[in-house]
C-alpha cells in the first residue's frame, strides 16, 4: 500500500539556491492520476542541482530555474517518479501515478522507520486501514483473519468484547506470552488479558485490551513476524510485532487543506450456530419421564411404549405421557400455578432466547494543515448489543494528533488519545462437577425439549431465580439480566516527538509516550441466583496499567559512493511497565439491585498484585544499498533488564538480513516476470524474565476463594481472627539468564505480467531456547514449580501470499483474486533432563489437559481414552455393554491447525465493488464440552433415532485388567445390547459423551468459512462535484454468513473457531463458550 510521507529530511534538504543572473520561474500543479486531487508534499527538484521545492497543500509549486533547458524530477514515496523537460514552458503540470510495483511499497518497520519494501530482507505483512474499518466487525484483530499470511487468529466466543487470540508464526514461549507486541504510534499498546474468576466455572468472556483500538482510527497496520524486523523493539518482539499507525498519530498531510470524513455503520448480529434440535422426546432417562437435564424421556404423542433398561436387560416401558406435573421448582415458587402441564416439545426454546444484536458505529475524522503543520482529530463511538440479552460493548474514542515544522528547524508532533470501553458481558462457563452454575450458557444450548422456557417466568416476585432444574442452574433469562461482568476501561495514550535535522544526512528524533489504563470491573451474581450460594456476590477488580516508553533515534543517511548508499540508525529505548490490581469481594447483599460494595454485609479483600519492571536498550541499525538492487541490513541491540539477576542483566542480540532484486541486477526485462526479489534473514531476539522471579515470598491470608494454588482448601483466612501465611509455591533460580529466539527466514517476492500477479513466499525456522519458564514440580517437593532456563520450542513454517488481477479493462472493470496460505509446524524439541512433559494448565481433576511434551506440538491435549485390544478393537465391559475407560492419560489431540488458507476476490466496476473472503482452517483438535452435552443430553437430531437397542462394536474386556476376555484363547465379540441413552450418557462411565473418556469429545476442527461478503458503491466524482462531498460511498457487509465444520456431529452445526480461554496460551478446549456470530451491516462513508 502506498504511504504518503512528508519526510522532513526532504523538506529540510531543500536549500535556497543561488540566484543566477539568467533565471525564470516555473510553476505547476501536481495531481493524482487516480482521482485528480492535488498532491501536497511532492518533491520537485531540478535535475543535477540542489535546486528544489515541495508542493503546497494545493499541489502547487514554484521554482526558479535557469533560463534555458533543465529537467524537473518529481518524486514522492509511493508514486512513480517522473521527469519532465521544462523546455520553454513556464507551467509544468504533472499527473503522478501510484507505484504499483510491489517492491515500491513503503513499509513502516521497527521504531517507526519507514523503508522501501525492496530493501527489506524479511517478510512484512501490511493491511491498510480501509481493510479493517467498515467491515461490521468491532474487533480489529478478527477483521484481519485471512488477510495476512503467518497470522493465526482465534476468537474466543461470540459475546461482545470477548477476547481474540492472535499468534504470529506459532507459539514460541513455553509459558510466557505468545501474543505479538502491539505498537501504536510508536508506543507499545498493552494487550493483556486478565481474568477475574475462573473462566471455566464462573468467569466471563473477558476482553483482551487490544479491543480498545478503534478500527476507524487505523491508518495502516504492519505485521512484522520475524525477529529481524523486530530486533529493534527489544525483548517483547520475539512473538512478532503489530505496528499500528493511527490517523491521528500519523503525520500524513491532508490532500486538501481541510478534510472531514464521516463514517457511519449499522449491523445486525445473530447467533451463528445452534444445533438442529430433536423434538420427539422430552426430559427423563431411558424412556421414563423425570425433571432431568437430559432429553432421554418418553416420546411426545406416542402410542407405542419405548424401551426401558433394567439390570442389563431391555424391557418394554409402559409409560405413556401426555401431561406432566408442573415442574417442581415452579410449583415451589408459584403454589397457585397449574398442577399439570402438557408434555410437548418447545422446538424453539433455545433459539428464541437469543435476540438480534446490533452494532452502531459512527466516527468523524477531521484533518487539516499546510505544508508545515498537520493536525488530525478523530472521534468515534461504537455501540454493540450482543445476541445474548443485556450483553453490550461500547467504545468511545477521541484522538487528536499533529505535527509541525518550527522555524528553527525542529519538527515536533504530539498525539493524545482517550478511549473509553464499556463491556457488559454474561457469565460464561459451565460450573464444576457437582457445583451449580450461574452462567447464561450453562443449559440454554441444550435445554430439555419440553421446557417451556419462554412461557414460564424466570424469577419470583422476590427476584429468586426459577428454572426447570431447580438449584442446578440459573434460568438463562435471569442470568443474562442480573448476573455478569461489567467492565469499564479508561485508557489514555499520549506521546510527543521532537526531531531535528542537523544536515540533510543527519537527524535526531526523540519520542516519549505513555499508555495507561484502568479497568474497573464488577462481577455480579445477584441474590437469588443459584450461584454464589444464593446470597448475592460482587467481586470488584481494579486493574491499573501504565507503560512509559522513550526512544531516541539518530539517523545518518548518505550515499558513500555513486552506487553505495548507507543509512545508520542508532538510539536508545527506555521502557517502564507498572501493573497493579486489587480484587475485593462482597457477599450477602442487602438490596437486590445495588451492585456496590456498600450493599454487602461482608466485604473482604480478594487478592491483588503489583509489579514494575524496567528495560533499557541501546541499538544500532546499519543499512547498505548497492545500486538499488542489493541491500544488507545489520542490527544489534543490548538490553538491560530489571527482572534478571544483576550479573545477567545485560545481554546483546544481533540480526542480519539481505535482499536482492535479481531482475534489476541481471537486467531482466520480461513481460512475464516484472520484478523479482529474493531475501534472507537471520536474527536473534533476547527476552528477559517475569518480574519477581528470583527469590521466594510468602502469601498472606491466601484462602480458598482466591482459587490460587497453595491456598487453604475449604476456608478463607483470617480463620477465627487468625491470619495465615504460607510459603509460596515456586522455587526460584537466582542465576536466570535471558532466553533467546533465533529465526532464519528466506523468501521471494515476485511480480508478473506487469504487476498483474504477484507472489510472496517465506520459509522460516524459529527456535526459542533457554526459555525462562517454570518446570512443574511434584507436590512432594513442597513446591509446584521451579522457574529456570530450559527447553527449546521450534516453529517452522511457510507463508504464501498471492494476488492476481486476471481482468483489468480500460473501462475500469477489474477482477482481483488474492489468497494466503499459512502453515506452521510447532514442536516442543526438548525440555530438561529427565522431563519429557509439563502440564500447561491443570483444569479440572480428570479432565482433558493441555501439555507441553517433547516431540509433541505446543499445547497437545492429554486425556483419558477407551481401552482397546492389540488390534484396536474397543474393549467392552460385558456387564454394561459399554467401553472400559483407561486409567492412563495419553495424547488425544493437537489443537494447532495443520494449515490456514484464505481466498478473497473482488470485482469492481464504475465504483461498484463486490468482494468476498473465504477462510479455511485445516485440522487442529478441539475438545468440545458443548458437543459432549449435545449428544449426552440427547437434544439434537444426532440422537433422535433411538428406538431399539444397540451393540457397541468391540470385544469383551476385563475392567480390572484391561485385557480382552478370552474364550478358548479367542476374543469374544461384544453382544451386550444397550439403549442409545446409555451410549451417550452413562452414570457409571464408559459412554461416548457424558461420563466418557476424554478422547470421545475431541473433534477435528477443520472449518471452511465465508468470512466476509461485501458490496460497495462509490458515488462518481462527477455526481458529487455539485455537492459538498468529496467522497460518498455506501457498502453492505456480511460477516460469517456460512461455515461448515464437517467433522463435528452433523446436526450440531458447530463452529469450532472458539476457545474458552480467551487470549491465553491454551487452545483447543471449549467449555460452553458463547457461539459465534454472523452480521449483516451497512456502512456509509462521506468526506467533505
Amino acid at each position: 500500500m502506498r504511504k504518503f510521507l512528508l519526510l522532513s529530511g526532504l523538506l529540510l534538504g531543500v536549500t535556497i539556491s543561488h540566484v543566477m543572473a539568467q533565471e525564470r520561474t516555473v510553476t505547476g500543479v501536481i495531481t493524482s492520476s487516480e482521482d485528480g486531487t492535488a498532491l501536497p508534499g511532492v518533491n520537485v527538484v531540478l535535475k543535477g542541482s540542489t535546486t528544489g521545492t515541495v508542493t503546497d497543500t494545493e499541489g502547487k509549486y514554484r521554482l526558479t530555474v535557469p533560463a534555458t533547458g533543465g529537467i524537473l524530477v518529481f518524486s514522492f514515496i509511493g508514486l512513480v517518479t517522473q521527469e519532465a523537460d521544462i523546455g520553454e514552458r513556464s507551467v509544468v503540470d504533472i499527473q503522478m501515478k501510484p507505484d504499483v510495483t510491489q517492491l515500491g511499497e513503503v513499509i513502516v518497520t521497527a521504531a517507526g522507520i519507514e523503508r522501501e519494501s525492496k530493501a527489506l530482507g524479511y517478510a512484512v505483512g501490511n493491511v491498510s486501514g480501509d481493510k479493517v474499518a467498515q467491515k461490521s466487525e468491532p474487533d480489529v484483530l478478527r477483521s484481519l483473519q485471512g488477510k495476512i499470511p503467518g497470522v493465526n487468529i482465534l476468537s474466543s466466543s461470540g459475546a461482545p468484547g470477548s477476547a481474540t487470540r492472535i499468534t504470529i508464526r506459532g507459539n514460541k514461549s513455553l509459558f510466557g506470552n505468545n501474543q505479538p507486541l502491539f505498537v501504536v504510534d510508536g508506543i507499545p499498546f498493552d494487550n493483556s488479558y486478565s481474568t477475574s474468576s475462573n473462566e471455566l466455572t464462573d468467569g466471563a468472556a473477558y476482553s483482551s485490551r487490544i479491543a480498545d483500538i478503534d478500527p476507524n482510527n487505523i491508518e495502516s497496520m504492519s505485521i512484522l513476524p520475524g525477529g529481524a524486523a523486530a530486533a529493534l523493539y527489544g525483548v517483547r518482539a520475539s512473538n512478532g510485532v503489530v505496528v499500528i499507525t493511527t490517523k491521528s498519530g500519523s503525520s500524513r498531510a491532508s490532500r486538501k487543506g481541510l478534510e472531514i470524513s464521516f463514517n457511519s455503520g449499522f449491523a445486525i448480529e445473530q447467533i451463528a450456530n445452534l444445533p438442529d434440535y430433536q423434538n420427539k422426546y422430552g426430559t427423563g432417562s431411558r424412556g421414563n419421564y423425570a425433571e432431568a437435564n437430559g432429553s432421554w424421556g418418553p416420546a411426545f404423542d406416542r402410542p407405542d411404549p419405548g424401551v426401558n433398561y433394567v439390570g442389563g436387560v431391555a424391557v418394554p416401558n409402559g409409560s405413556e405421557v401426555d401431561s406432566i406435573p408442573y415442574w417442581g421448582a415452579y410449583a415451589n415458587a408459584f403454589p397457585d400455578g397449574p398442577t399439570m402441564v402438557p408434555y410437548r416439545a418447545y422446538p424453539n426454546n433455545a433459539k428464541d432466547f437469543f435476540q438480534d444484536g446490533k452494532v452502531w458505529d459512527n466516527s468523524i475524522t477531521i484533518s487539516g494543515g499546510n505544508e508545515k503543520s498537520v493536525m488530525t482529530l478523530v472521534a468515534s463511538n461504537m455501540n454493540q448489543e450482543g445476541y445474548i440479552p443485556y450483553s453490550e460493548f461500547r467504545k468511545t474514542n477521541i484522538s487528536l494528533g499533529g505535527t509541525t515544522q518550527l522555524q528553527n528547524g525542529f519538527h515536533v508532533g504530539g498525539n493524545l488519545s482517550y478511549i473509553n470501553t464499556e463491556q457488559k458481558g454474561p457469565l460464561a462457563g459451565y460450573g464444576q462437577a457437582g457445583q451449580v452454575s450461574a452462567s447464561v450458557l450453562s443449559r440454554i444450548l441444550f435445554p430439555g425439549r419440553n421446557w417451556d422456557i419462554q412461557g414460564q417466568p424466570y424469577e419470583t416476585e422476590d427476584h429468586a431465580n426459577v428454572f426447570f432444574l431447580g438449584a442446578a442452574a440459573d434460568n438463562p433469562y435471569y442470568s443474562s439480566k442480573y448476573n455478569g461482568l461489567r467492565s469499564q476501561v479508561n485508557r489514555i495514550a499520549a506521546s510527543i516527538n521532537i526531531g531535528y535535522d542537523v544536515t540533510d544526512w543527519l537527524s535526531f528524533n526523540y519520542k516519549v509516550g505513555v499508555n495507561t489504563y484502568n479497568d474497573r470491573r464488577k462481577e455480579v451474581t445477584r441474590r437469588g441466583s443459584v450461584g454464589a450460594a444464593g446470597i448475592g456476590q460482587l467481586v470488584t477488580d481494579e486493574i491499573y496499567y501504565q507503560e512509559i516508553e522513550s526512544n531516541l533515534l539518530v539517523t545518518f543517511n548518505k550515499d558513500l559512493a555513486q552506487d553505495l548508499s548507507l543509512k545508520v540508525i542508532g538510539g536508545y529505548n527506555i521502557n517502564q511497565r507498572t501493573g497493579e490490581n486489587q480484587q475485593v469481594r462482597g457477599v450477602n447483599s442487602i438490596a437486590f439491585d445495588i451492585d456496590d460494595l456498600d450493599n454487602f454485609n461482608s466485604v473482604t479483600p480478594f487478592g491483588g498484585t503489583y509489579y514494575r519492571r524496567r528495560l533499557m536498550g541501546l541499538f544500532g541499525d546499519v543499512s547498505l544499498g548497492y545500486k538499488d538492487y542489493l541491500f544488507l541490513n545489520l542490527t544489534g541491540r543490548n538490553d538491560w533488564s530489571s527482572t534478571l539477576p544483576a550479573s545477567k542483566r545485560s545481554f546483546f542480540y544481533p540480526s542480519v538480513s539481505s535482499s536482492f532484486i535479481f531482475t534489476d541486477a541481471l537486467g531482466i526485462e520480461s513481460n512475464i516476470l516484472t520484478s523479482g526479489k529474493i531475501r534472507a534473514a537471520w536474527s536473534r531476539v533476547g527476552n528477559d524474565a517475569p518480574v519477581y522471579s528470583l527469590y521466594p515470598t510468602y502469601s498472606l491470608n491466601l484462602g480458598n476463594s482466591s482459587g490460587v494454588v497453595g491456598a487453604v482448601p475449604g476456608n478463607d483466612l483470617p480463620f477465627l481472627g487468625q491470619p495465615g501465611a504460607t510459603q509460596g509455591t515456586t522455587v526460584y533460580d537466582p542465576n536466570l539468564t535471558p532466553e533467546f529466539t533465533t529465526t532464519v527466514e528466506v523468501g521471494a517476492e515476485l511480480a508478473f505480467f506487469n504487476n498483474r500477479a504477484s507472489l510472496k513466499a517465506t520459509y522460516y525456522d524459529i527456535r526459542t531456547t533457554d526459555q525462562i519458564a517454570p518446570i512443574a514440580l511434584p507436590d512432594e517437593s513442597g513446591f509446584n514449580q521451579f522457574i529456570t532456563n530450559f527447553g527449546e520450542v521450534s516453529n517452522k513454517g511457510i507463508e504464501i501470499g498471492a494476488d492476481v488481477t486476471p481482468v483489468r479493462m480500460e473501462n475500469g472493470f477489474t477482477w482481483n483474486i488474492y489468497g494466503t496460505f499459512t502453515r506452521n509446524r510447532n514442536m516442543v524439541e526438548s525440555l530438561t533432563t529427565g522431563i519429557d512433559e509439563i502440564v500447561l494448565r491443570a483444569l479440572y481433576g480428570g479432565q482433558v489437559t493441555p501439555v507441553l511434551a517433547v516431540g509433541q506440538p505446543y499445547g497437545t491435549l492429554k486425556g483419558t481414552t477407551n481401552t482397546r485390544d492389540d488390534e484396536g478393537n474397543l474393549l467392552i465391559d460385558p456387564a454394561t455393554g459399554l467401553m472400559i475407560q483407561s486409567n492412563d492419560l495419553t495424547y488425544i489431540g493437537n489443537p494447532n491447525p495443520k494449515y490456514l488458507a484464505s481466498l478473497g476476490t473482488s470485482l469492481s466496476f464504475k465504483g461498484i465493488t463486490l468482494s468476498c473472503l473465504w477462510n479455511y482452517r485445516h485440522g487442529g483438535s478441539l475438545w468440545s464440552a458443548t458437543n459432549q452435552f449435545y449428544l449426552g443430553r440427547g437434544v439434537t437430531r444426532d440422537t433422535e433415532n433411538r428406538e431399539g437397542t444397540f451393540i457397541v462394536p468391540g470385544v469383551w474386556g476385563d475392567a480390572n485388567t484391561f485385557q480382552p476376555i478370552l474364550d478358548d484363547g479367542k476374543k469374544i465379540p461384544n453382544t451386550t445390547q444397550v439403549i442409545l441413552n446409555d451410549v451417550y450418557f452413562q452414570t457409571a462411565g464408559g459412554s461416548f459423551a457424558i461420563n466418557s473418556a476424554d478422547e470421545n469429545s475431541v473433534y477435528d476442527a477443520t472449518v471452511i468459512r465465508l468470512s466476509e461478503v461485501g458490496v460497495s458503491y462509490d458515488f462518481p466524482k462527477t455526481l458529487l462535484s455539485k455537492t459538498p462531498f468529496g467522497v460518498l460511498s455506501l457498502s453492505f457487509t456480511g460477516r460469517n454468513l456460512f461455515y461448515n465444520a464437517p467433522n463435528f456431529p452433523k446436526h450440531s452445526n458447530y463452529d469450532p473457531e472458539t476457545s474458552s480461554f480467551g487470549a491465553q496460551n491454551y487452545t483447543g478446549i471449549e467449555y460452553n463458550a458463547a457461539p459465534s456470530v454472523k452480521r449483516y451491516g451497512v456502512n456509509l462513508r462521506v468526506t467533505f
Binding site: 439390570g311 482448601p713 476456608n715 512432594e780 522431563i835 480428570g846 454394561t880
Partner: protein, 537 residues
C-alpha cells in the same frame, strides 16, 4: 555554533538517559506486595486449617472418597464403582495441599522455630508432621518422605518404603514431645486453632498417635511392650480435648465447616447417606446383622431428612423409607439413580458436618438458609473415643497387652455418645437421654459378651465405624487391617441394578500428575492389589 549547541543538548539528554541506566535504576525487582518473612504463628494457623480440610469430609478432603468406600455415604461418580484413579479431584488436591501446603509450611516452622529458639512451635509442627505423614502412608503406602520437601536437594523426591516411614514418625513424635517441654522464645497460643496453645493436649495427642500407629502395625510387629508402656503412663487423649478443628460462623472470610458449606449453602448437594449405613443404624439391615435388634439414638444427629413422606420427592426415587429418608445405592445403574433430588434427598446432619438436627419435621435445605445448621461443628481427626476404641482393640487382640477390653469398649461407646451430646448442646438441639444411652450400651454389650473374640473385634470396629461418621480415613484403614465392619457388597445384595466389576481398592491411587512430574516416582499402582505394609490381608 547554534547548531552545535543543539546537538550538545540532545547528546546531553541522551547521555543522561543512558547514565541513569545504572544499577539502582534496575534494582526494583523486589515484590512489594508479598513478604519474604512471616511469623511462626501465621504459618501454624494456615498449615493447621489446610491439613484438617485436606483430610476432612469437605469437597477437598480425603474423607469424602473414603466415606464412600466404607459405605457411610454415596456419591455419584467414579468412586461409586470402586474406580479410584489418580485424577480424582480429592486425590489430586489433597496430595497437593498436604505436601506443598501444610507439610512444607510445617517444615518451615521447624526450621525457622529452631533458628529463632522457639522449640514449642517446633514440637507442635513435628507432631502435626508425624500425624500427616501417617495419614498419607495409611492411604497411599510407599510415599516420598526422607527426600521430600527439600527442593534444593531433590526436585524429584524418591518414594520411601512405607514400613520404613512409620518408625521415623514414631521418632518424630518423641522429638515433638521433647520439644514441647523446652523453654521457648515464642509459644503457640490463639494462632494454634486446634488446641489454642495447650501444650498438654499436644503431648497427649502425640502419645495417643503413637498408640494408634502401634495398633495399626500390630499384625506385622510385636507392639505389646510399647503399648503397655503408653497405656500405663495414662497420658492419652482426654474427654473434651479431641484433636479436631472447630469452625466459625463467618461467611466472608468463610470460616464455616467446608462440608456444611458444600452441602447446605450452594444449592446442589453431593452426598447421600449410604442405605447400608442407614439400615444398620435403624435396625433394618438384612445384609449385616451385627447390630440387629438395636436402634441407634444418634440417628437424628447423623442426617437430616428433607422430606417427611417419600411420595413428595421431586423425581422418581431409588431408595426411600416411609419416614422420608431418601438416598441412592452404591454402584447402582438403576433407572432412578441419576435424578436430581436436591430438594428431597437426606443430607448429612449436625454431627457429621454441622448441619441440621433432624426433628422429623422435614424442610427444604436451599440457599435461602431457612433450614440450616450451625456450620461450626468441628472436623474431627482423632478423638478421645477413637483412642478408647483403639485401646479396646489392642487389649482384646494383643496377647501381651494388659487391660479390660470390655470396659474400654463401653467407655468408648459412652465417649462416642458424649461427643454427640456435646455437639447437640452447642447447637441447642435436644440431648440423647442417659436412659437411651444406657439402653443402647447395654444392648451392644450383651452382644459383646455373647460373641467370640472375632465377634468382639467386629463389634468394636463396627461401633468405631459408626462413631467415626464425618471422618472416614481411619475407618477405611481399620477395615483394610481387620476386615471389619463387614462392608456392603453391591454384587451380592440381591438388587439387579447394583454391581461392579471392580474389586475393593486397598489403597489410593497416586496423584497421576505427580507420577508424570516426578522422574523418581514409581509407576501407578494397582489399587486392588497394592496393600499398605500393615495390611496383612
Amino acid at each position: 555554533m547554534k547548531l552545535n549547541k543543539r546537538i550538545g543538548i540532545l547528546s546531553l539528554a541522551a547521555t543522561l538517559a543512558v547514565a541513569s541506566g545504572c544499577d539502582s535504576y534496575f534494582d526494583i525487582n523486589v515484590d512489594p506486595n508479598n513478604p519474604s518473612e512471616v511469623t511462626l504463628g501465621q504459618l501454624l494457623t494456615q498449615s493447621e486449617v489446610t491439613l484438617v480440610n485436606s483430610l476432612g469430609i469437605g469437597n477437598n478432603g480425603m474423607s469424602t472418597p473414603t466415606s464412600i468406600l466404607v459405605h457411610q455415604t454415596v456419591q455419584r461418580g467414579s468412586v461409586d464403582q470402586y474406580v479410584v484413579s489418580g485424577d480424582d479431584f480429592q486425590i489430586t488436591t489433597s496430595w497437593q495441599n498436604l505436601y506443598s501446603g501444610s507439610l512444607e509450611d510445617l517444615k518451615t516452622i521447624i526450621d525457622q522455630g529452631t533458628e529463632e529458639g522457639s522449640p514449642q512451635y517446633v514440637g507442635v509442627a513435628q507432631i502435626l508432621t508425624a500425624y500427616t505423614y501417617s495419614m498419607i502412608v495409611d492411604m497411599w503406602g510407599d510415599v516420598p518422605f526422607s527426600a521430600a520437601l527439600n527442593p534444593q536437594e531433590a526436585l524429584y523426591p524418591e518414594y520411601d518404603d512405607d514400613a520404613m516411614i512409620y518408625p521415623a514418625l514414631l521418632q518424630l513424635l518423641d522429638n515433638g514431645i521433647a520439644n514441647l517441654a523446652q523453654a521457648s522464645e515464642d509459644s503457640p497460643a490463639t494462632d494454634d486453632v486446634i488446641y489454642g496453645g495447650n501444650l498438654v493436649s499436644w503431648r497427649r495427642l502425640a502419645k495417643s498417635l503413637k498408640l494408634k500407629l502401634y495398633n495399626q502395625t500390630r499384625l506385622v510387629a510385636d507392639v505389646s511392650a510399647q503399648v503397655n508402656a503408653l497405656i500405663a503412663e495414662g497420658d492419652l487423649l482426654r474427654s473434651g480435648a479431641d484433636f479436631e478443628l472447630e469452625y466459625g460462623t463467618s461467611v466472608a472470610p468463610d470460616n464455616r465447616n467446608p462440608a456444611f458449606v458444600y452441602e447446605y449453602t450452594l444449592g446442589n448437594k453431593v452426598s447421600y447417606i449410604s442405605p447400608y449405613f442407614y439400615e444398620i443404624m435403624t435396625n433394618q439391615s438384612e445384609l449385616n446383622d451385627v447390630l440387629t435388634g438395636i436402634s441407634d439414638p444418634r440417628v437424628p444427629y447423623y442426617w437430616f431428612k428433607q422430606l417427611t413422606d417419600p411420595a413428595d420427592a421431586q423425581n422418581p426415587t431409588e431408595y426411600t423409607d416411609d419416614n422420608g429418608f431418601l438416598s441412592i445405592h452404591f454402584a447402582s445403574t438403576g433407572v432412578n439413580q441419576g435424578w436430581q433430588q436436591d430438594r428431597s434427598q437426606t443430607v448429612l446432619g449436625l454431627y457429621a458436618i454441622g448441619g441440621r438436627y433432624d426433628d422429623g419435621k422435614g424442610g427444604e435445605v436451599n440457599t435461602s438458609g431457612a433450614i440450616t445448621g450451625p456450620g461450626t461443628v468441628a472436623q474431627r481427626l482423632y478423638t478421645h473415643f477413637a483412642s478408647l476404641y483403639t485401646q479396646a482393640e489392642l487389649v482384646l487382640t494383643e496377647p501381651g497387652v494388659t487391660g479390660d477390653h470390655r470396659k474400654l469398649f463401653e467407655d468408648a461407646i459412652r465417649a462416642s455418645f458424649a461427643k454427640v451430646n456435646a455437639i447437640a448442646a452447642d447447637a441447642g438441639a435436644p440431648l440423647i437421654t442417659a436412659g437411651a444411652i444406657n439402653t443402647y450400651v447395654a444392648a451392644v454389650l450383651a452382644k459383646y459378651d455373647a460373641a467370640n473374640a472375632t465377634g468382639k473385634l467386629e463389634l468394636i470396629l463396627t461401633e468405631k465405624w459408626i462413631a467415626s461418621f464425618g471422618f472416614s480415613i481411619d475407618a477405611y484403614t481399620d477395615y483394610r487391617r481387620t476386615g471389619f465392619p463387614v462392608m456392603y457388597d453391591p454384587n451380592t445384595d440381591d438388587l439387579p441394578y447394583t454391581g461392579t466389576s471392580r474389586q475393593y481398592p486397598v489403597s489410593m491411587a497416586y496423584n497421576s500428575q505427580s507420577l508424570t512430574l516426578n522422574q523418581n516416582a514409581p509407576t501407578q499402582k494397582n489399587v486392588t492389589t497394592d496393600r499398605i505394609f500393615w495390611d496383612a490381608e
